[in-house]
């Protein structure tokens, strides 16, 4: 009886570990944004949006497949596992440091991430889009938009590309990023 109980215990532990591993893998496109928390005190406004897979699927279920606009959004959000937005507005320039941006950018230089868009202008700042791939499938997307008085990071988990991101702008807390069509550029 004791041996059986020990075996069951080991089996339960393995099941738990496998389930934790699967969850971690599913969130492979997730960018850790907590390094930006310290900017909250300096920002004139902070917006933090977190919509997980369960909520996305709740929303997707009731979107109409017959209405063209809703059907398009429904198709896009169907495979999404998370939408996370962190945005800071500052009253004056210089309130955030290059190190703050670097804390995000360094993650996006990690394995699997590819920069597909990089626009920099002195007046309007930088806009970078990264896609995380796992083999042939896309596991996530991240947008880093930094101008002198505003810093925004958008992180979508799941199979999403630039076209889909454009279609989602203005919905689900994703700001209007005004990303124009450009040829992909490898980092």
């Amino acid at each position: 009886m004791r041996t059986t109980a020990i075996k069951l215990f080991i089996f339960a532990t393995l099941v738990l570990l496998i389930s934790i591993g699967t969850t971690a893998q599913a969130q492979g496109g997730r960018v850790e944004l907590s390094s930006l928390d310290r900017l909250t005190a300096k920002a004139s406004q902070t917006v933090d949006v977190s919509i997980d897979e369960r909520l996305i699927q709740t929303a997707a279920k009731v979107l109409s497949s017959k209405e063209p606009d809703e059907a398009k959004v429904k198709e896009i959000v169907n495979g999404l596992k998370g939408i996370y937005v962190r945005s800071f507005e500052f009253e004056k320039e210089g309130e955030y440091a290059a190190a703050d941006v670097e804390s995000i950018r360094s993650q996006l230089r990690g394995p699997g991430w590819t920069r597909v868009l990089n626009v920099t202008s002195k007046r309007e700042g930088a806009l970078e889009v990264y896609i995380m791939t796992d083999g042939s499938s896309i596991g996530g997307l991240a947008v880093l938009a930094a101008d002198p008085t505003e810093l925004t990071v958008v992180n979508l988990i799941g199979p999403v590309d630039l076209e889909k991101l454009r279609a989602l702008e203005g919905s689900f807390g994703i700001p209007e990023l005004e990303i124009e069509s450009t040829k992909p550029k490898k980092k």
Binding site: F9, T40, D48, D52, A59
Partner: protein, 184 residues
């Protein structure tokens, strides 16, 4: 020994299988109200509420319903605590409320949107939890002179509509709840 192994197994399975559903026993609404009272040294009031909210509600409901006016909150589910004519700027806005809310609600509620403007003394928090066939939504809004806490139940379809513009969610829910609520 055998009992402790079995207890361990049950514990592990419980962690692995625990669904993110509501803890019906805890009254988080009252706890949130209490936290605001403690941090800002205020008391919520029993007040007849703003007639002007009705106008806003009609407009926002129509937009969400695609032209037809309807309520956001499920019948009888609205709880509102209102704080009027207090100076919410007198306490340094250093993220204390945000930390307290996240720590208190973090285990059963999901934070959907948190807006924080320390210099303007505006704070807005929306938390959500699954309650079986519906969802509980908790809105906390702090402004310069007034604040409110609202908890409502919404159907999945209403939640889906609200989620499409989460930045407007707090305002839409507040407008709706203020016209039909049970004061705590």
């Amino acid at each position: 020994m055998k009992r402790s192994i079995l207890s361990g197994m049950i514990f592990l399975f419980a962690i692995a299988a625990a669904p993110p559903v509501v803890n019906a026993k805890g009254d988080d609404f009252k706890s949130v109200v209490k936290v605001i009272e403690q941090i800002y040294g205020v008391k919520h009031q029993q007040l007849p509420f703003l007639a002007r909210a009705g106008m806003k509600t009609a407009r926002t409901m129509a937009r969400i319903a695609g032209g037809q006016k309807r309520r956001i909150a499920e019948a009888g589910s609205v709880k509102v605590a209102f704080f009027e004519d207090h100076d919410f700027t007198s306490v340094k806005n250093d993220g204390n409320l945000r930390r307290s809310l996240n720590s208190m609600l973090g285990t059963t509620w999901s934070p959907i949107i948190q807006m924080f403007a320390p210099r303007a003394h505006d704070q807005s928090y929306i938390f959500l939890r699954n309650a079986g066939h519906k969802f509980n939504v908790l809105v906390v809004q702090i402004e310069t002179r007034e604040a409110w806490v609202i908890q409502i139940d919404v159907s999945p379809s209403t939640l889906a509509a609200l989620l499409q513009t989460p930045d407007e969610m707090g305002k839409i829910i507040s407008d709706d709840a203020m016209t039909n609520y049970d004061q705590e």
